[in-house]
Amino acid sequence: MLDSIQKNLSDISFREDDLSRRPTQAMQSPGLVNPYYSNLEHAWTTTGVQLSFAALPGVYVSSQDLSYSLEAPENIERVIFAAIERLYLNQHNPRDRRIAERLKMLYRDALAEGEKMQAVSITQFTDFFVKHKKLGMPKITLTPDGTLRVRWIAGPGNFTAIEFVGGKLVKLVAEIPRDGETAQYFATDLFSNIVSIARGFGAQLA
């Protein structure tokens, strides 16, 4: 199973000319080898979380069994494929291509190390970067709980980290210099407002 997944992942390729087309055309391009792309065409018109989940052929999940059903390796693989594609197609943003590459690498590493990845975290992470196009490239890691976490480090005692726990919430950790001291923040807050909240206390997301 793992060998198969790793092979499929290594087969992902996005041709430059694919990226200049409308998403639905790109999905049908011979340059894209993911067998699930044909199902994405319908899903493309939907939003955020639905895009990834609707893209799973034959998989229907309710909110109650979401985390359980999507933890199967083959389902995570599909969510990863969808996430990478969304990032690659995000208006030719070089940052998002780097993020897509990083996500692909993390997925491979997680498979090799026997670590889990949470589908809801991958989707929320992708939604975040698709939405916030002007933020800088952060450090991107997996946590032992299988969630994705990003961190912008401006210097010693000066960073902002966001952990994508899925749903409407994210976790935030930050240290901000204040008049020779360091202010520390540990919070859980709404995904939709987290950037303005972080900027409100002086976080540099660059």
Binding site: D109, A112, E113, K139, L142, T143, R149, F186
Partner: protein, 140 residues
């Protein structure tokens, strides 16, 4: 369980997916959430002085071998983060008093735990990451 001497050291195995370049994700020092929703009892670490080598770096190969004998996957690009027991306890004490105790296992006499920070999991993890002395490649 015996407390580790404050002058002694411990290694925490840092998987590659918890690293971004030289950056060690502080969540690597967080207690994992178990299937029952509870946090694990303690953070697994290994007592460096058990290996009785002149330097921490020289303790890496026998530790790696021991962990692999236990069935652990030690990826080539993973690392071992070195911490001093006394400094780690002092760092965590900003939020809560933790214990660093030997927790010998039949197949791993160097096994130890950092215990007592369930209520401040994120906070203590951040502080422990700050006092990493250095990290060593798991495989050289």
């Amino acid at each position: 369980m015996t407390d580790l001497d404050k002058d002694h050291h411990c290694f925490r195995h840092i998987k590659k997916s918890w690293l971004d370049g030289e950056f060690i994700e502080p969540a690597a020092f967080r207690l994992r959430t178990l299937d029952n929703g509870q946090l694990e009892d303690g953070l697994s670490i290994n007592w460096v002085e058990y290996f009785n080598r002149p330097t921490p770096k020289e303790a890496v190969p026998p530790l790696r071998e021991l962990l692999q004998m236990k069935g652990r996957t030690i990826g080539g690009e993973s690392k071992f983060a070195l911490l001093n027991a006394g400094r780690a306890k002092a760092a965590a004490a900003k939020f809560v008093k933790v214990e660093i105790v030997l927790d010998e296992e039949p197949d791993d006499p160097s096994h130890a735990l950092v215990k007592g920070y369930q209520q401040f999991n994120d906070q203590v993890a951040e502080e422990l990451a700050k006092v990493v002395i250095r990290s060593f490649a798991a495989k050289t």
